[in-house]
């Protein structure tokens, strides 16, 4: 399955040697390194654990699960087993192993592994991730994300749905309620897709500041969002509720192909929207 491997190459910084890969994928000429940096280093970190972990950070249980998948295959997990490029390259390899296997039992084994990888570790987060990319990326990476999403959906259609929801999504961590938890935890949970059902990147926070006419302070996302709340908490709750509802719609749009996976994400976003509305109402009453 060369397509996935080729797409994986472009989730890495673009070197001039990658140009022929981009050409084969009909993506046009390679972007500047700075464009890659802005997208993958500052906005959309290409690691599954960021989107599937309850902490919204690199590593942790989500990465361990993926490393466990490698071990179950009898492979040594690479240092960054949950990196997008690694996952796509692994998918390509499993698809090839399945196709090249002459023994029917073993071929079925590879097929099961391939389908598990697709549903457990790719489709469980990439549709949301790529949807954000389509929204914010310049043309080259927009085309890349569209191609990847189309390829993933094609695989989903071809292999069929998985009976059970991906393990990553079976736990349903939600936003921390600031009335019961530290404010910092609440703010961090907004930036944690597995809790909020949203993928909020730097450019989103910048958009919020612009819309609410707030000062945008530079720093890590948690610092920025804290500063925005300190300027206009009610406005931010409003804005975030709208974002959550908009994400619920996005997730729902994938329901036909992704089934329960889309619903799990939609429910996260809806729960967030509900909490945010409740918080705003509480704040209004107090005012």
């Amino acid at each position: 399955m060369e397509l996935f491997r080729a797409l994986a190459v472009l989730a890495e910084p673009p070197t001039k040697e990658a140009a022929r890969v981009a050409l084969a994928l009909e993506l046009g000429s390679l972007p500047e390194q700075s464009e890659y940096t802005d997208l993958f280093v500052f906005q959309l970190y290409p690691y599954a654990s960021v989107y599937l972990g309850a902490e919204g950070m690199l590593g942790g249980e989500a990465r361990d699960r993926i490393a466990g998948f490698w071990r179950a295959l009898g492979q040594t997990p690479t240092a960054e087993a949950d990196h997008l490029a690694v996952l796509l390259a692994l998918y390509a390899r499993l698809a090839e192993l399945e196709m090249d296997e002459s023994d029917a039992v073993r071929r079925q084994g590879w097929h099961v592994a391939r389908k598990a990888l697709l549903w457990e570790h790719l489709l469980s987060w990439l549709p949301a991730y790529l949807s954000k990319m389509e929204e914010i990326a310049e043309p080259f990476y927009r085309r890349w994300s569209e191609t990847l999403l189309a390829a993933l959906f094609e695989e989903a259609r071809t292999l069929g749905k998985q009976e059970q929801l991906a393990l990553h999504l079976r736990d349903t961590p939600r936003l921390f309620d600031p009335r019961e938890n530290e404010t910092g935890e609440f703010l961090q949970s907004l930036l944690t897709p597995a809790r909020s059902g949203m993928v909020l990147v730097r450019s989103d926070l910048s958009r919020a500041a612009h819309k609410l006419s707030l000062g945008l302070r530079m720093g890590e996302r948690k610092f920025i969002i804290k500063s925005l709340f300190s300027q206009d908490a009610a406005g931010m709750l409003d804005w975030l509720e709208d974002e959550a509802r908009e994400w619920a719609v996005r997730h729902r749009a994938h329901k036909e192909i992704l089934g329960d996976t889309a619903t799990a994400w939609e429910n996260k976003a809806l729960a967030s929207a509900a909490l945010l509305r409740e918080l705003k109402q509480t704040a209004n009453k107090m005012a």
Partner: protein
């Protein structure tokens, strides 16, 4: 375009690109783990110049492979040759190398330090003053070669062949120098192996007829190491990466080491036994398998020589397997966990738990012992032998995850010339006392010379430093200082060392990127060759130049050995009258000397299966292919050769004896792999042993006298060591019963991961990391002595003492002390090697020798600015000088562990003080010699040594016959 069409398009683009010999996907990346430059860009690789940062300045490199020359592993290196300056800028791993797979330890990249070392020897030097006085004059290669060649020629003409000796440290090309010596008709090969690994070799050879193990660590379920393989063992880098792979896949790692080595820190089970008790533990595990019928009975039945054992040792019993099993149970029943605890101090319950883990391994049990306990203890060869017994019990022999004999995982391609076995026997290296010695009794040489057993006209050391490396270095100094014992001493060395100061000639040899060698090692279940080459020669040839002699491209007048030996051989016999010259004569241009291109061109063209075809795929000649990629894998997954059916074509006029050994009249088929293995004797009618009859099928078996795995060694039984004919536990010379109350054991054998004897000295990065060797001592032991870390201790051996700093650590078994042998380099004058050698004063009166440290190292000005940044002064203490020789009476291996007295230093003691009495050391030598069972008394057949046993340079069969006692050197 839909995803499926796009997939086809990308596949087609990849196929098209790769058909051009290029790489479609760029490296480095996570996609193919291609952390290496794609090979089609090795001619023009671009990297940013780190020194120009933040300016983005591009540097263009040519990448040229070679092979590391530090430890023996022969890992692949890739030299980055700056295309502008034509200098090597760095060394990284060669991804094309099947053994090391692009990975290296610290020593590989440090090759750069060695080739740019400001203190290295660049020109041939000849002694000007007295030996050891330190006065030198530069001479031409011609002058040196002519003098040395004429001395050797004279010795050969006057039938004094045994006065020419070559003593090797770091091995070079497989068999190269042995063939040179054979061409001269000289039995003059001497190796360091008896201070290194010969006891392990004995243990393996008695079982297998091959003297090294090749564990398939990566695929094992249980790995048992009696060594520190993850940091310093043989094939450390290739093996460590495979052990870790096994661990990652869930294998259990068991480590026996008295010291908390890095390897021990990775173990699932680490035990720290009393040194020398390892075989007792291993045998208790074997006994557990035997008593509980947990061994692979079918394997044992098919492959052990139990029938021979029963027939010879228990002729009254029926010769059937059930009887053998009963006898086996009886033989080993005393090796209980409780007895193992008594010997080792390791809790019997822990040993039992380990035994249960071993029992789960099945045929995926990989084990390894190399040096360590085998080389520390008298009888240490039984450690390797008992360890392999576990494999033999489990049937984990040449199985996936098991242990292979090295010869099946090694490929030594046949060269153009293979001279006949020399018709001479050198008793200085193969004395009558050691008929079963695995290797030359090299470390006894000064004592033999002093005893008048012979003398040497020309003595070469080759990247070897016996004064420092061997025990009892002052006896070496005494012998080297006596010109009546050693007429001309020639040190072939890239760098100054303690021994070279006593040389008559110092001839500068190349480092890893300055010489040719061809290697093959048993790093895993495969066969590969690795090519060491002068990097600048290959680089300039890529640029279109023609290089005829490696000196043209090496710094100063540094040469490589292969050209040197060919030239020396030519000059020994310039007109060919002695019949020597023919072995170094060009076939392409008769009458002229063979060159390295023709030599290797022949080998790669004719003797490496598959190489020609692989090279042709890239329009390269085989030599060009090897110059370009540096390594070639001949085959993978060799499998269990002993189970292979012997083809009918090899079964002409066969005879089978009562132990189902099958002998044939068919000559041995020609093979281009000349890897050394044992050579069992033919039958009385001259048929060769071709295999064994197992259940009605003639199978290949093992190259042992029985054709099977030798649980019972008739060789040991017949040559005077009947009590050791089967694997047993021998109490070490440092067993508690052999120590006085105030004595303890010093472990002196361990290496540091970043150094390799004296080979790696003057590699500044390595020296900065590791430059001292404190004495490891447990807190309880230190408290008894009132010692704290950093305080001085005096360590007294049988022949003297040394003064060293203490390191109080829980990482050592209480009551045992340890000191790495990698440190304590010294020199007598300030010049010479300045990064790792202390300057010392040498005191000498009669047999008393002393060393006083004048000062350690310090910053100095040189061509390398880093030498002014040397911040350390301490370079450790040279403990080996204070060790007497302890030759194991069977294997001949020096038994390194020392019985010592550890005391707080006296007021007059200073750090680095060494005191030795060489008279006492000679007495100890005599004491150990008396433990031997010489061939003239014990030989069962009137020969000096069992002919079947391996020997690095095997002489012709007729000289194996023992001469009369009066002609035998050393017999009183």
């Amino acid at each position: 375009m839909n995803p499926n069409e796009l997939n086809e398009r990308v596949s087609a683009a990849r196929a098209e690109t790769e058909a051009r010999g290029e790489t479609f996907y760029p490296g480095p990346s996570r996609i193919h783990l291609a952390a290496f430059p794609p090979k089609e860009r090795w001619d023009d690789w671009v990297e940013l110049d780190s020194k120009s940062w933040p300016e983005r300045k591009e540097k263009r490199y040519m990448l040229v492979p070679t092979t590391c020359f530090n430890c023996e592993s022969a890992c692949g290196l890739l030299a980055y040759v700056d295309k502008e300056s034509l200098q090597v800028r760095k060394f990284e791993g060669n991804p094309e190398h099947p053994g090391s797979r692009g990975r290296n330890c610290a020593k590989g990249p440090a090759t750069l330090n060695q080739i740019t070392d400001p203190d290295r020897i660049l020109y041939p030097l000849k002694r000007a003053g007295k030996r050891g006085e330190g006065k030198w004059v530069r001479v031409s290669w011609n002058e040196a070669l002519d003098d040395i060649a004429s001395r050797i020629r004279k010795a050969i003409v006057e039938k004094r062949n045994n006065e020419v000796m070559y003593h090797v440290g770091r091995p070079g090309e497989d068999g190269f120098t042995e063939r040179i010596l054979a061409a001269w008709g000289v039995d003059g090969h001497n190796s360091h192996t008896n201070v290194c690994s010969s006891s392990s070799r004995a243990g393996y050879q008695f079982w297998l007829g091959m003297d090294r193990p090749s564990p398939d660590h990566a695929n094992a379920k249980v790995v048992l190491l009696i060594s520190a393989h993850l940091e310093a063992g043989h094939y450390f880098n290739p093996h460590a990466q495979r052990v870790i792979e096994a661990k990652a896949a869930g294998a259990k790692l068991i480590v026996f080491d008295t010291r908390l080595s890095h390897t021990a820190t990775h173990a699932d089970y680490w035990v720290a036994p009393y040194p020398g008790s390892e075989a007792a533990i291993v045998l208790s595990i074997a006994n557990y398998l035997i008593q509980n019928n947990l061994y692979n009975r079918e394997f044992v039945r098919r492959w052990w020589n139990w029938e021979e054992f029963l027939a010879v040792e228990n002729p009254e019993l029926p010769t059937d397997f059930a009887t053998f099993e009963l006898v086996l149970k009886n033989l080993y029943k005393s090796y209980t966990f409780e007895n193992a605890e008594k010997e080792s101090g390791v809790d019997a319950r822990v040993i039992e738990e380990i035994a249960k883990v071993v029992a789960t391994a099945g045929t995926k049990f990989s084990s390894h012992n190399w040096r360590s306990a085998a080389s520390g203890n008298s009888g240490g060869w039984q450690v390797a032998r008992t360890l392999f017994m576990l494999n033999a019990l489990l049937g984990a022999v040449a199985t996936e995850g098991g242990v292979y004999p090295n010869a099946w995982n090694k490929f030594v391609p046949k060269p153009m010339y293979t001279p006949p076995h020399p018709p001479a026997w050198n008793e200085l290296t193969w004395p009558v006392e050691y008929p079963l010695g695995m290797n030359e009794l090299s470390f006894l040489l000064p004592h033999f010379l002093k005893d008048g057993r012979g003398k040497l006209e020309v003595y070469f050391t080759r990247v070897y430093n016996p004064v420092w490396t061997n025990p009892d270095g002052f006896s070496w100094v005494e012998a080297l200082n006596d010109e009546s014992l050693i007429g001309c001493y020639v040190a072939l060395t890239p760098t100054w060392n303690e021994t070279s100061y006593f040389a008559d000639y110092i001839l500068p040899m190349g480092h890893g990127s300055e010489r040719h060698d061809l290697h093959s090692y048993e790093t895993h279940d495969a066969q590969w060759i690795g090519f060491r080459q002068p990097v600048m020669r290959a680089a300039r040839e890529r640029l279109g130049e023609k290089i005829a002699d490696t000196r043209e491209v090496n710094p100063g007048e540094v040469w490589e050995e292969n050209e040197f030996w060919m030239e020396l051989t030519w000059r020994i016999d310039p007109d060919g009258a002695l019949g020597i010259r023919q072995y170094v004569e060009s076939k392409e241009r008769p009458g002229t000397r063979l060159g390295v291109d023709e030599y290797y061109g022949y080998i790669f063209e004719n003797s490496v299966p598959g190489l020609k075809e692989r090279a042709a795929q890239e329009d390269l000649s085989p030599l060009e292919f090897m110059r370009r990629y540096g390594a070639f894998e001949i085959t993978k997954k060799v499998g269990a050769i002993y189970e292979e059916l012997v083809p009918d074509a090899e079964l002409e006029d066969v005879k089978e004896d009562r132990f189902s050994r099958v002998y044939t009249k068919t000559p041995k088929p020609a093979s281009t792999n000349i890897v050394p293995i044992a050579s069992p004797d033919p039958d009385a009618e001259g048929r060769r042993l071709v295999g064994v009859n197992v259940d009605g099928k003639i199978l290949r078996g093992f190259p042992t006298p029985s054709g099977r795995l030798e649980f019972y060694s008739s060789t040991l039984a017949e040559w005077g060591w009947h009590e050791y004919a089967i694997p047993t536990y021998i109490r070490s010379h440092i067993h508690p019963e052999n120590l006085a109350e105030d004595q303890t054991v010093l472990i002196s054998t361990f290496r540091l991961p970043t150094q390799i004897h004296t080979r790696s000295a003057n590699a500044k990065w390595l020296d900065e990391i590791s430059h001292t060797n404190p004495l490891w001592i447990h807190p309880t032991h230190a408290a008894q002595l009132g010692l704290q870390t950093g305080e001085l201790v005096r360590v007294e051996t049988e022949i003297g003492y040394f003064v060293v700093k203490a390191w109080v650590t829980e990482g050592i078994r209480p009551g045992i002390v340890a000191c790495s042998h990698h440190m304590g380099r010294w020199k007598l004058k300030d010049e010479g090697q300045r990064q790792m050698m202390a300057t010392v004063a040498l005191a000498h009166e009669g047999d008393e020798w002393g060393i006083k440290r004048e000062h350690g190292v310090h910053p100095y000005k040189s061509a390398d600015a880093d030498t002014q940044r040397i911040w350390w002064t301490d370079v450790g203490v040279h403990q080996n000088l204070t060790f007497p020789v302890h030759p194991d009476p069977v294997s001949g291996m020096h038994c390194w562990h020392q019985a010592v007295r550890v005391k707080k230093a006296e007021a007059s003691d200073a750090y680095g003080d060494i005191n030795v009495d060489t008279h006492k050391s000679h007495e100890v030598y005599r004491k150990w010699l008396r433990m031997t069972r010489p061939a003239n008394v014990h030989s069962p057949d009137g020969t000096r040594r069992p002919y079947w046993l391996m020997r690095p340079l095997k002489p012709s069969r007729e000289v194996f016959r023992l001469p009369d006692n009066q002609e035998l050197v050393g017999v009183e």
